[in-house]
Amino acid sequence: MTERRAITLSINGTQYNVTVEPRRTLVDVIRDDCGQTGTHIGCEHGVCGACTVLIDGEPVRACLMFAVQADGRSIRTVEGLQQGDKLHPLQQAFMRHHALQCGFCTPGFLMLAVGALEKRPDLDDEELVDLLSANLCRCTGYENIIKAVRAAAADMKA
């Protein structure tokens, strides 16, 4: 397993040229090789969604993909949401609605919601709950996450 491959990952617009074992997961490479530790690892079997990132605009579990599969593709992580000093409307809404406690699942929820709302800003309540059921949170009981995403959806349209 020591044969390494040179790949290029574009993360939030920055090119990272890294040489990795083919077995390394995308999330490990994003965190350890590229130093972007905002994307978290909660289960490594694709259930909790803490590692959700956007690849070419689609939400993906970064623990279920090898880094070599993402070679040359455009990845967005939580570190890329803020524009200069200005927080993304979802980040603001999460703070305003107390949608995080320990904050460990938060990056995954933010990326899941960003990915969905950029494509479908008019998600109705039922679709929203369905969407957010993809990820796990152990602190909030979800109500405030749902509220925050709903509020941000309105802000993003405005």
Binding site: G38, S133, C139
Partner: protein
């Protein structure tokens, strides 16, 4: 929020913790790394019970990049992990060794540790370690007769006994005796961040560091220093961000000890992160108990006596809490009701499962389920309504403070304040109980499985006795609150900042709060037993008041005024009448520098300590009401309506209290309907992924109504605070069981948690 509220205390302001967490700049254990670090991987027992014949690590050691592989023989000088609150001779033989010595006692028990330059490599090497274990029969049922733990020791190290009065006489005098056999499943906190620890030895300072600490860094430092035979001055714990605590994170586990010892002996930092499968079989479990309980009641449904014989499934070893969970259970089982005679015998039993300890509302989730099931059964037996039987037994507001000859966590049980009947009335009115009751009865009459449930509970919080804090104003005008508290995501920093801001007259956003660092303050109680706000906030208020006094004294000299004529507003000292000049706290700090010519004989620095001591714990209370509907085809339960009514005494930040209640509720619902660590007859855990151990998702959670009251401030502390961390979860098992049972017609068929679809389907199918 940009406008200053009337008072920082009581304001639902945004959290000061949030900005790094929403931008991906948190510092969780996995986010930290040190140059030249090694990665540790555990080799764990695949057997529930057996004797270790041989461990062969030759191939693993030969793998390039592997620095060491340790078994018990390599750390023979290390004692087992001790009890946090001090030695208990009777329980000592049952403590867990850091690595299994000659016997394994649960699947997942650490038997060897691999240290390698890369985490993938460490995992490869761990797979090359071969174990030869002679398997023997495991014990998987704590209510079966005890077996042998080791020669001379049975698997029942102790029986926790509490009680008072003449229980036998109470049962002789009873108009009716109600008897139940109840069980609570094995659950745990299951934080989203798995455990992580980094050990690092700084030879230049002779300091050993543990990063990834949580919950009780100061107490853990003392325990670890004793184990490692080091001075506490040369051992520091650092809490970064913690991805959920819930009682299970931040205990001393074998892996924490290993990274420290390895950092010392291998001369490199050692990082360990567990995976989810390991977490589910190695971090503390909790809750599993079986109760054979009897109640003696008079003809009016008043409790005369309670007799509970229960079996606590402790798992393979006794960990840092000793027997505190079953002992606490005994102390708080009677809850909000008068009870003349009482006896609880808790059989503390070792089995061959993951060791158990505390999980949010330990002992109380179980106690509320058991007691409230019993109250429903009494109502049914005597033909009373479930509300009426509770009302007849509730302790009255005029009886406060109410003392019971019981203890919880070593503290005499004294309910400090509360109006339980008043809370019950408020909750019933809030949901429109009578109309709801008619509605569900009507729906049941046409064949629906729908029911209404009720639970009344008292929680305990604010375990003392003493905590301190230091408040310092810097010359910039910024304020630092240095605490020995801990933050596991609950909003600790914001709450401390609000209390300090209110006392000192500054904006809470100018307050930085230090926690979880043994190198900044000598003592600390950490965050457990719903005590952080009660204890540390009161200490912070006292320290801030001391700083305020010093600031006004210095300002009085500068402003040529009497201190009594001055106040602090927006970070500056001003005259109370609003006229004349002002002096900022930063300027005052400047005047109090050691070299200042204006300081006079005052001690240098605009800073002060504050200590708070409480005589007893404080007891918040509440009522929960649920409407549950069962799908008879699948056995699935849907919660149609949910009320959490809770008296917090005084809320520092109602938004955060509500967050605690909602989050606790979700965990309680998981334990009531979904979550269970199951084992097969060979002691093999079958719930080791998130596909088997089901944590609630957004679609499992109903809309929840929260009724937060402040009717009964605590009489135990100046701020009147009671704890909020555990009340959301504590009675959820009880109320959901009550509602589901009612949906089945109210025959008392629900006797265990979790109420899984299979369990319900079997009950429903047996009818047809």
């Amino acid at each position: 929020m940009t406008v200053k509220p009337e008072s920082w205390i009581g304001a639902s302001v945004e959290r000061i913790e949030d900005p790094p967490l929403v931008t991906g700049r948190g510092r969780f254990a996995g986010d930290m790394s040190f140059p030249h670090q090694l990665h540790m991987r555990m080799v764990r027992s695949p057997c529930a019970h057996g004797f270790i014949k041989q461990i062969d690590a030759t191939a693993a050691r030969a793998l390039p990049g592997v620095a060491a592989v340790w078994t018990a023989a390599d750390i023979a000088d290390l004692p087992p992990i001790d009890f946090r609150e001090g030695p208990v001779a009777k329980l000592a033989p049952f403590r867990q060794p850091v690595l299994a010595r000659d016997r394994v006692r649960y699947v997942g028990e650490p038997v060897a540790a691999v240290f390698a330059a890369d985490p993938y490599l460490a995992e490869d090497a761990a797979e090359l370690v071969t174990l030869d274990i002679d398997e023997i029969d495991p014990i998987v049922d704590a209510s079966a007769p005890p077996g042998e733990f080791a020669p001379g020791f049975t698997t029942e190290p102790t029986v926790c006994r509490q009680g008072y009065g003449d229980v036998a006489a109470a049962f002789e005098d009873a108009a009716a005796v109600v008897e139940l056999d109840l069980s609570v499943g094995r659950h745990s906190g299951v934080p989203l961040e798995t455990r992580g620890a980094i050990g690092r030895y700084d030879a230049a300072r002779d300091v050993l560091e543990l990063h990834g600490a949580a919950k009780v860094p100061h107490r853990n430092r003392e325990c670890l220093a004793t184990m490692l035979n080091r001075s506490t001055a040369g051992l520091h714990l650092y809490e970064g961000h913690v991805g959920g605590g819930f009682g299970i994170r931040g205990e001393i586990y074998p892996e924490d000890v290993l990274v420290l010892v390895a950092a010392l002996r291998l001369g490199r930092p050692v990082k360990w992160l567990e995976d989810r499968r390991e977490h589910l079989m190695a971090a503390n479990h909790s809750r599993q108990q079986r109760h054979r309980i009897r109640a003696a009641v008079d003809a009016h449904g008043r409790l005369l006596g309670l007799d509970d014989e229960f079996f606590h499934d402790q798992g393979g070893y006794i960990r840092t809490h000793g027997a505190r969970v079953p002992d606490m259970f005994c102390g708080i089982l009677p809850g909000p009701y008068r009870l003349p005679h009482y006896r609880a015998n808790g059989h503390f039993r070792l089995t061959n499962k993951t060791p158990a300890a505390t999980y949010r509302a330990p002992g109380r989730y179980e106690a509320n389920f058991v007691r409230e099931r019993l109250m429903d059964a009494i109502a049914r037996r005597l033909g009373l309504s479930r509300v009426e039987v509770r009302r007849r037994n509730l302790i009255g507001a005029h009886e406060m403070p109410y003392e019971r000859p019981l203890t919880a966590l070593g503290d005499e049980v004294v309910y400090d304040s509360g109006d339980y009947a008043g809370m019950l009335d408020k909750a019933l009115a809030r949901v429109g109980w009578d109309a709801l009751e008619r509605d569900v009865a009507q729906r049941r009459s046409v064949g629906e499985y729908v029911g209404l449930g009720l639970a009344v509970f008292v929680d305990k919080s604010g375990l003392g006795p003493t905590d301190g804090a230091r408040v310092a104003v810097h010359t910039s005008g910024d304020v630092e609150v240095i605490t020995g508290g801990a933050s596991v995501g609950q909003g600790f920093e914001t709450v401390m900042a609000q209390v300090c801001a209110e006392t000192l007259g500054v904006d809470y956003r100018r307050v930085r709060v230090v926690h979880g660092r043994t190198d900044r303050i000598e003592y600390g109680i950490g965050a457990h037993a719903a005590r952080a706000t009660v204890m540390t906030a009161n200490a912070t208020a006292i320290a801030a008041a001391n700083v305020r006094t010093k600031a006004l004294d210095m300002a009085a000299q500068l402003m040529q005024a009497e201190p009594a004529s001055l106040t602090i507003a927006k970070g500056s000292v001003v005259r109370s009448d609003g006229v004349g000049p002002s002096v900022s706290l930063g300027e005052i700090a400047h005047h109090l520098r050691p070299s200042s010519s204006t300081r006079g004989t005052r001690d240098p620095g605009l800073a002060a300590d504050g200590w708070f001591t409480t005589a007893h714990m404080t007891y918040p209370y509440g009522v929960q009401i649920a409407v549950a509907a069962i799908d008879p085809g699948t056995g699935a339960v849907r919660i149609e309506k949910m009320l959490l009514a809770f008296d917090i005494g005084r809320a520092i930040n109602p938004m955060l209290v509500r967050g605690q209640l909602l989050g606790g509720f979700a965990q309680g619902l998981g334990g009531a309907l979904l979550e269970e660590f199951q084992y097969d007859e060979r002691g093999q855990p079958v719930s080791v992924t998130f596909a088997d151990y089901l944590v609630p998702t957004a679609s499992d959670i109903p809309a929840v109504d929260v009724l937060l009251t402040e009717d009964a401030p605590s009489t135990c502390n100046p701020l009147g605070i009671k704890g909020a961390g555990e009340a959301g979860v504590a009675a959820v098992g009880a109320v959901i069981a009550s509602a589901v049972d009612d949906a089945l017609g109210g025959h008392g068929e629900i006797t265990r948690l979790p109420i899984t679809p299979q369990y319900l389907k079997a009950i429903i199918d047996a009818r047809s």
